[in-house]
Amino acid sequence: MKSYLKKASVVAVIAALVLVSSMAIVAPLQIANAQGGKQLKIALVTDALFSDGGWGAAAHDAAKLLETKYGYQVAYAESIAIPDIEATLRQYAQDGYDLIIAHGFQWGDPAVKVGKDYPNTKIVVFTGLVSSNNVASIFPMQQEGTFLLGALGAMMTKTGTLAYVGGDQYPNIINIFEGYKQGAKLVKPDIKVIGTYLGDFDNPAKGKEAGLAQINNGADFLFHVADTSGHGVIQAAKEKKVYAFGAVLDQSALAPDTVLTSFVLDMDKAFDQALQMVVQNKFEGKIFKPGIEVGKGASGDGIVYLAPFNQLDSKVPADVKAKLQELTQAVIDKKILVPERIKTTSDISATAKLGDQTYTITGISSGGKINSATINSGKSIKFEFDKAGDIELTLPKSVIDGITVVKAGDKTVEFQEISSSDSASTIKFVLPEGSSSVEISGTTVVPEFGTLVAIVLAALLVGVIGIVRFKGALLNLGRP
């Protein structure tokens, strides 16, 4: 009898604790009352936290704006665990919501699945890469914004070293940093850009130490895309009095004398666009890829912009501002292309001889290096690579002009000319697995995790075990 009572009370106490703690997540969210207008039901769902001072917070504010601007009722759900995403979407669709804004890349596939069962519900996935009849994605060209950050940093750096800290190596984040590198190198070809990945978006202490280590290695601009870990990166910059770049929203308020600017995703505009598609019955199930705009709410479709310098405005020289403006316009006008790059790249180069002339070809690659380059006089240039991958090559026009065909082995591959000047043009293509030779283009490979490193690691572990095991006895280690 007694033990029943005991068990019951245990269950009750634990249930109460779990209930209280789960309420803690949900409780502060309020559902606003509609203040008129059509009773459209909108939901904002995300795996992030609305209190993260970044990605989640910006979405929360943007949805709040829909309430105040149009008087719609918006329901909110945050901190949804990845495995619960589908069930959450299904619940809102079941409850008859007209528009669900799913905030995060991971919501893409479940959205398509749930969307099939609820054709009357429209789902817009922010930063997704999926689409169906009633599911659309908005995938901002963030690299266009971070390109400008890289260029700005390169113009202002005193040490010649820029740095970035990433939460994890997701394709989207690689793309952001590749834009940053491209911008930096455009301004200062010999600039050093160092990067650190934390493997953790919620660890500000680690972010801070990563930033301090980068500053110790000469970096004087720190750029983060690491959610709350990024708060630590900004703190490191503040402590060492160097500049930081914020991510996703204007993070100047976190450290006004430190955050020079931020690349901002104009979610107010993006969510409004999503809403208008539904309100005006113009929903298109496709992937939208909006790029940069000159400033918040500017005309055009762009939703990525750089935040104002705020109180650091006087620290940015006028010629830097002018150049930045010029670059912004060039990117908007597609005079400078900042291609999506979802793999980490490294620089490659090769020299080719023709007669007694030597030509240098440079580029970037996500895969291997160029083993050799030979010019087939007057017709083509041929590269031998040691690995497949995504490749961009800058070919001097004195070597080749008016590129028509790129062949990998004997198959023709698609290519894109991403920029062209009087002296050279840059093309981008994919060298498929299994091919090594390309007629007209080349690549570089990141050194592989070599056998040598594996041997060193094994020796290290065996050594540590051995030392502790045998010397440990002398030190009386491990005796209780």
Partner: protein, 314 residues
């Protein structure tokens, strides 16, 4: 080519960084050690650290006084420890389940209270970071000075706690009672030791120390409170106690290995190594495992760990 001075600065930076990364887990580990020595396994330590981070933050935010912040951090985590004590000592629930419940409660409660206080906003409120204190005469020593004697006060306190907790557990009467209660509560009871009181005391002291560890993140490292700011440090601390064989000095060694290896890999990434970062991120966990395998002899855990004591039961 790097100049010798720059290389030295990088190495000093890595070691000092390792000490900062080790400090919060050291506090939590020492606290957990005291609780476990009395026979209470506290899995809720992560939740207590978060409450500590929150308590420390609001205490300092509203008063501008770090001492009040730290005291509030200890109290916030201590309240959870009282609850943990109630669940595990008084009504004798399964200690694993009670610990997990405390973890969830602490995580949710810290977030709820923070939002009730500040609301949801894009610009997080912040406090000035706790200033560093140079130890006069020592902080200028070449090499060792900037590594050991140019830190915030909590680093010094944390390192001081290592011998203090050792003396407390092994050289004081109360420490002896705690160990007896953890090894053989029945015998302790027969000798007139109040098992329940001693266990409550140990859990609360342990919780308060975990609270300081949590406050380290909000007051020393970042100046903000963020939900999940502790980033799983409580779980690392739990592992450290086992790693350290329930002994202060080895918990310190474990915390330092963890912190140093983490700082080392961050330093290596910043140097621009070509090693894959995934491999580097693994190191702080891999090296302690290697040491643990090397050390393995017998656990040395308190005999009555995670066993509730029922007075008068045979």
């Amino acid at each position: 080519m790097k100049l010798a001075g720059e290389t030295e600065a990088v190495i000093i930076g890595i070691i000092a960084s390792g000490i900062r990364l080790a400090t919060p887990v050291l506090f939590a580990g020492l606290g957990e050690k005291i609780a476990e020595r009395s026979g209470i396994l506290n899995l809720g330590i992560e939740g207590m650290m978060l409450m500590g981070a929150f308590g420390g933050f609001i205490g300092t935010y509203f008063t501008g006084n770090y001492v009040i912040g730290i005291l509030l951090a200890m109290a916030s985590a201590g309240i959870l420890a009282v609850l943990k004590g109630f669940l595990s000592i008084t009504i004798r629930t399964n200690q694993l389940a009670a610990g997990l419940a405390i973890w969830l409660l602490g995580t949710g409660l810290a977030a709820l209270l923070y939002r009730l206080t500040f609301g949801v906003r894009t610009a997080a409120p912040s406090v000035e970071l706790m200033p560093k204190i140079d130890i006069p005469g020592l902080s200028n020593l070449p090499g060792i000075g900037p590594i050991l004697f140019n830190h915030d006060p909590l680093v010094y306190i944390g390192f001081l706690l290592v011998p203090l907790t050792y003396i407390f557990i092994f050289k004081t009467n109360l420490g002896l009672k705690i160990r007896t209660v953890g090894e053989n509560p029945k015998q302790a009871d027969a000798l007139g030791v109040n098992v329940y009181k001693i266990r409550y005391l140990a859990v609360i002291v342990g919780g308060a120390l975990a609270g300081i560890g949590g406050a380290y993140y909000s007051l020393v490292q970042t100046g903000y409170f963020l939900e999940n700011i502790t980033g799983g440090a409580g779980w690392i601390a739990l592992a450290l106690v086992i790693f350290g064989r329930w002994k202060s000095q080895w918990i310190l060694v474990g915390a330092l290995i963890f912190g140093m290896v983490d700082a080392f890999q961050l330093g290596l990434q910043a140097l621009g190594t070509t090693l894959p970062y995934q491999f580097l991120l693994m190191l702080p966990y891999l090296i302690p495992i290697a040491v643990l395998v090397g050390l393995y002899k017998r656990t040395g855990a308190p005999a009555a760990l995670a066993t509730p004591y029922v007075r008068g039961e045979r």
